[in-house]
């Protein structure tokens, strides 16, 4: 692959004696949407932490645009399952958090945050505190905060895991819209196979103890995808293959 945005090159993570993530390599193309699916304890989050620079790998490299970013934070946008909005900052204040933490949130940052909120349906809530928002709205703000951090790569660690099924489906479609608008490269962790297949260009299946990549599936389902996509034969077929892989490994 010549247009790789991100190259995970033989990354391995040990915590003392425990092998949390066995030697893992993965290349992600510029603008690609990759989902990682696997049981808990398969090292998904460990891998994300390595890419985000929160965790130094025991060995291996993470190359972004030709530079090694392993163990060096501040190069990617990271979003967690919990929205982690700061209760004392308004929606605008939360969206510009990245700028505030790394320097100063300027008035143009704030203006950009407001228009971002307006574009994605939160224009009336820019001065609200997070506690006055619903779970889905909070998660939207968290994603906007990640977008407003202006990084090419977004790491999303089960961002919709805590939402109810209906909100979740809405958020998935919204995320695809945002992704199409922004042209960012996305790595998305989930343990929901439906979600993994629905969103991705490629689904990476991981297995546990030690965490490693077990299989990679290309998703040949055309875009744009809608709720109807969930019922197409291609989708069903791919979903059953991913499920079979997961189930097969865990039954052993």
């Amino acid at each position: 692959m010549t247009n790789s945005k991100l190259i995970i090159d033989r990354v391995e993570v040990r915590f003392g004696e425990t092998l949390a993530l066995a030697e893992t390599s993965l290349e992600v193309a510029d603008g690609e949407f990759v989902t990682l699916v696997g049981p808990s304890g398969c090292g998904k989050t460990t891998l994300m932490n390595v890419i985000a620079g929160l965790q130094k790998p025991t060995s291996g490299r993470v190359m972004m645009d030709g530079a090694d970013i392993a163990g060096r934070p501040g190069h990617v946008g990271y979003m967690f399952q919990k929205d982690l909005l700061i209760p004392w900052r308004t929606v605008t204040g939360n969206i510009v958090l990245g700028a505030a933490l790394t320097g100063r949130a300027t008035s143009s940052d704030r203006a950009a945050a407001r228009s971002l909120a307006a574009r994605y349906g939160l224009g009336d809530f820019v001065d609200h505190y997070p506690h006055a928002l619903s779970g889905g709205m909070r998660q939207r703000v968290a994603l906007m905060r990640t977008l407003a951090f202006h990084k090419d790569i977004l790491l999303l660690d089960e961002p919709f895991g805590a939402l109810d099924a209906q909100t979740r489906l809405e958020m998935q479609q919204w995320l695809l819209e945002v992704w199409a608008d922004s042209g960012r490269t996305v790595l998305f962790i989930t343990h929901d196979v439906d979600e993994a297949v629905f969103l991705a260009d490629r689904v990476v299946v991981m297995s546990a103890r030690p965490g490693r990549i077990q299989a990679v599936h290309e998703v040949a389902v055309p875009r744009p995808r809608t709720v109807d996509t969930l019922m197409t034969p291609e989708f069903m077929e791919l979903k059953s293959r991913v499920l079979a892989g997961l189930y097969h490994k865990e039954a052993k």
Binding site: V76, K82, W88, L101, S115, A117, A118, G123
Partner: protein, 268 residues
């Protein structure tokens, strides 16, 4: 409803006054045992010029001791949460400091610090700093570690993380402590005056009037001391509401909205 809610503290005070008056008149209590509210008020007015300056002195001791004690308490909590060695060494000492009866330590404090302002400030400080330490430590340790990880993943340094993520999280528990401390500070000042007293103050005055069986005067002083403590408590409540608007409001106050010009609001 709103009127009843805001008036209810006043009604409560009125209720206490009524019960007090009834107790005195129905049970025929002698004025030197328990003066009526009216007599107490009379005593306060008669001695007002004298009592006013004494109250100023006690207020001064309370406020300065409060500021020093809560300030030291806050800094200790921050140091303890950042350096576990400080926490391990200091925590048992702090607990022990609270086990020492304040009245007992007041006398030796006079030997060390003399009869001036210093021992009073130390006593007030000793009383008020502990709730601040405990509450601020609680606030600092209640911060979600993934919140800190998020900030780190954005490349933020420890100073920025402290300022934007940790520090504001201490405000709510800090004010709970400050409200307690504001009321305790007056108690501290009075204890200080009782044991280390050649400078005048309400506490000293109270002892003097007590020895003359001027019970109405004693109650007048008590009323003033209570008023000082209440005022401190109310002031802290107002400051709390101003500095933690997200706890009581859904949206930011208009004058805190930066660059809230309509042209940046975008389409509705």
């Amino acid at each position: 409803m709103r009127f009843v809610r805001s008036a209810s503290p006043l009604l409560a005070i009125l209720l206490v006054l009524v019960i007090w008056q009834l107790a005195v008149s129905v049970l025929h209590v002698q004025p030197y045992v328990l003066p009526s509210p009216h007599r107490t008020w009379q005593a306060l007015l008669e001695d007002w010029t004298n009592v006013r300056t004494l109250a100023g002195q006690t207020l001064y001791e309370s406020v300065v001791g409060f500021v020093i004690g809560t300030g030291v308490g806050f800094l200790l909590a921050v140091a303890m949460s950042h350096l576990s060695i400080v926490h391990r060494v200091l925590y048992p000492i702090l607990i022990a400091s609270q086990a020492v009866p304040i009245v007992a330590i007041a006398a030796p404090l006079v030997i060390i610090l003399g009869y001036g302002l210093a021992p009073k400030l130390v006593i007030v400080g000793l009383i008020v700093f502990f709730p601040v330490v405990v509450n601020v430590l609680d606030g600092l340790s209640s911060i979600d570690s993934s919140m800190v990880n998020l900030a780190r993943s954005m490349g933020a340094g420890p100073a920025k993380i402290f300022l934007l993520v940790r520090l504001p999280a201490t405000l709510t528990p800090l004010f709970s402590a400050l409200k307690l401390a504001a009321a305790y500070a007056v108690t501290g000042a009075v204890i200080g005056e009782w044991t280390a007293s050649i400078t005048p103050g309400l506490g000293k005055d109270l002892l003097l009037k007590n020895s003359r069986l001027d019970t109405a005067g004693v109650y007048a002083d008590v009323l003033l001391l209570t008023a000082i403590g209440l005022a401190g408590f109310l002031l802290m409540t107002v400051l709390e509401n101003l500095s933690t608007p997200w706890r009581t409001r859904g949206t930011a106050r208009r004058w805190f909205r930066r660059s809230a010009s309509p042209d940046t609001k975008g389409p509705r």
